[in-house]
Amino acid sequence: MRTRSKGLTSLIAVTAASLLTLTACGGGSDSNKETPTSNAGYADCEKSPNTCNSGNTKPGGEYIFGLEQSFTSWNINTEEGNTLVASQALSGVLPQVFKSDPGGTLQLNTDLMVSAELTNQNPQTVVYKIKSDAVWSDGTPISADDFIMGWKWNSGKKELCTECTPASTSGWDIVKSVVGSDNGKTVTLTFEDGKTYADWKGNYSTDGLYPSHLATKQGFDLSKPEGVNSASNWFSETVPTWSGGPLIIDAFNKDQSLVLKKNDKWYGKVKPSLDKVIFKFIIDQGSVIPALKNKEITGMSPQPNAALVNGAAETPGVIYRIGHGYQWEHIDLNLKNKYLADVALRQAIFTAINVKSVIDKTYGVFDKAAKPLGSHNFFPGDPNYKDVVSPTGQGSGDIEKAKKILTDAGYKIEGGKLITKAGEPVPALRFRHTKGNQLRATTAELVQAALKNIGVDIKIEVTETLGKTLSTADYDMIIFAWVGSPLYQGSAEQNWVTGNGGNYGNYSNAEVDKLTNEGARSLDPKKAADLINQGNEIVAKEAYVLPIAQKPTLTFTYSDYVNIRDNATQWSPTYNIQEWGQKAA
């Protein structure tokens, strides 16, 4: 029914990682000419994701962009506020240091910044130079004080903020100091000695800057941890009347819409041409297409499904595009189950599952470019991407091969039941998925049908709380998605090393631990990727996690507006909100 997507922080796109770039590079083998993933107007997004649907604008007009949820907190530096919708809705208001373009490259926000550079390796030091004309909507310059407040909020340290609840502290908990100079227009961020954070570009980019002078005006003492906390709460609860971006909030109708108008004090190169940008909250997916047809929204970037893609394609005057994002679906096995602890059974299970046919019945119905994912760490299009799954035969749906693996290992299939070497029948396995997710329910049924062929019974159970089900490993098999990112070093360590946070199914292999740990700490990106891929090959062979596919993204808009284009990163199509506008005749 309703899904809450949180956990933005990890979605950092430093390198290209979407399938659209792959086809552009000519690496894609299939060319589905008859079934486009976008229609006219967006057709050139395949080749030039960053410039498609561009054009000159004429002044005036309103653009109504739909959002899938409403939000309660205006401070995206908190656990509560760290939602995709909040960051989309505030993308015209919050200044950010880097933003990713649709191609997946992080670009310096040159409206705000002169530069943001790594100046020293040890201690790792980043120097930010803010443009002199960058100001908040009341004329106060954007300054180092705003950077300092953001650091304190996210640090997770009680001596900096008493009760701050950041969604994640990674990259912030090892910051030693943030110091302003040059009248506040230069900011020097220094990490603790000997600690490095490869993805420093994420800081002040996945979140955003807030005006510290307004907090001071409210009477909060930002030099005290209590004051910093009060400021965080105040920004969380108060609808911003301020802006540091091209737009400023005009009106907010709780749970219905957010209306933005031009910010007169906007210092950037491109001035918005639209009179208003409206974000409308459409929580019920069934309302999206009627609203689009009814022009109650003019564009949106919802979680795709067949009805939305068809509906967008059939609505006259609307163009759409399916992209490929940073989330990937996968089936995990729980190695705490004594039967699944046997690698032969795991290999047989994964071999019997036909990933291609799972995709055909799920994403493939509306996303013709969807195809099996072959890596646990990288996406097609990334130079580090290496298909480690296909060579193992897993995901092929080859029942004979699966049976052979089993018989070679001493299993027997008698009367449709799988019997172990010890003569025990393998009991039914509990396959779990999140309630209300139709595509995962379909996957579960397909897996159930496939595994019947090798004598393995599957009992499908939904879960209401994915988090608890995972952290208590209350499953035998489970399907869910990871939010991947080019921060592969951190996530690889998290997911594949013995006993670590994302390794819910208890996988343990000393060789993988060694390779992955070494890869995660290496400062040479090429070497790091090689080590992680080597570890990944072993993980794949040992059949712990079966990747299914990258989740598609969808963006559609009425074609009389230009510069609105799909962006599969967390910056979403709103990354260039100031350029949106009515097409000039």
């Binding site: 029914m1 309703r2 997916q285 069934g286 297409i289 499904n305 067949a306 009805a307 939305l308 068809n310 509906g311 059939e314 055909d360 019945k361 799920t362 119905v365 309630k435 209300g436 139709q438 329910a441 379909t442 579960a444 049924e445 397909l446 159930q448 049908a449 499908i460 159970e461 939904v462 879960t463 209401e464």
Partner: protein, 303 residues
């Protein structure tokens, strides 16, 4: 099951007297005069056959998933297929079966419990009545949908059909208990109750053997209406995501899964909807016929 409830229940009653048997015949005769109700009964029985016998005859059962995605109705798939490739006919049979099972079970549990509760309250009156009816009031005050939603969240691993039936029963009994209490309040003053008391019959015996059989008309009508409202309640719960879960199915689940398909795959939306309407409509007409048959002037408090 429901048909036997309707036509045979009076005979099965252990306290049959000649007077009652002739009354049963009278009721049956009056019911048969209600053309719409009789027609509905026939149609309803056909639906029951479709749901319970159909799966034995049709080649695809509900777990079949190898069909093409979104095939429109065809000779192979008379009602079409959904995105996963389920055969909608097979799914509808199973869905109708599950929905009927749920509503019949609810009618059974809620009516039995509600009737007893109401009869006890009506029979004893005084503080017992006050207490029992306040409890019923609490249930009636609780906005039923809220409770259904919270309760079904509690059923781990998703609601099974009988779990859902328990939840819905919990919400349905209170209304029935009120109806029965009203009837019993008027019955208890009548001579045959006095007579039974004089003969030394225990309270429970009077309630179960004398009061309830005489309130049977209202109870049966209430049970019938409960079937119809439960079918709709199950659908509503499924729509907001708190009903039966895949891989099992119900009419509510089918229609919920199809809510985005109204435009593109209308068969997925309209067929299960028609089944629901047919069941609810026939059951409502049967209920109307029964009401007329038992007492042409009987009015029922319907919630």
């Amino acid at each position: 099951m429901s048909s036997s409830l309707v036509t045979k229940a009076p005979e099965a009653s252990p306290v049959l007297t000649t007077r009652q048997r002739s009354q049963a015949e009278l009721v049956l005769r009056r019911f048969l005069r209600h053309k719409l109700a009789v027609g509905s009964l026939v149609l309803f029985l056909l639906i029951v056959l479709f749901a319970f016998v159909g799966p034995l005859l049709w080649k695809y059962d509900y777990s079949y998933i190898d069909g093409p995605s979104f095939s429109p109705p065809s000779a192979e798939y008379p009602l079409g297929t959904d995105q996963a490739g389920h055969d909608l006919l097979g799914q509808s049979m199973r869905g109708t079966q599950q929905s009927l099972k749920i509503s019949l079970l609810v009618a059974l549990i809620a009516t039995t419990f509600g009737a007893l509760w109401g009869a006890i309250a009506g029979f004893y009156r005084g503080w017992a009545d006050g207490l029992l009816m306040r409890v019923a009031d609490v249930v009636l005050t609780l906005p039923s949908i809220a409770i259904a939603v919270t309760l079904s969240v509690n059923i781990s691993g998703g609601a099974s059909w009988w779990g859902l039936a328990l939840v819905l029963s919990f919400l349905a009994w209170a209304g029935i208990s009120r109806v029965v209490r009203g009837v019993v309040l008027s019955l208890r003053e009548q001579e045959f109750v006095e007579a039974a008391k004089a003969m030394g019959a225990s309270d429970m015996r009077i309630i179960v053997r004398h009061l309830l059989p005489n309130a049977l008309g209202s109870i049966i009508v209430a049970a019938t209406v409960t079937i119809a409202t439960t079918i709709l309640a199950e659908t509503a719960l499924s729509f907001i995501g708190f009903g039966v879960q895949r891989p099992d199915t119900s009419l509510g689940l089918l229609i919920n899964d199809a809510k985005l398909s109204v435009q593109d795959q209308p068969w997925l939306f309209y067929f299960p909807g028609l089944f629901i309407i047919l069941i609810a409509l026939t059951v409502n007409f049967i209920g109307d016929g029964l009401r007329d048959a038992f007492d042409p002037r009987q009015t029922l408090v319907r919630r």
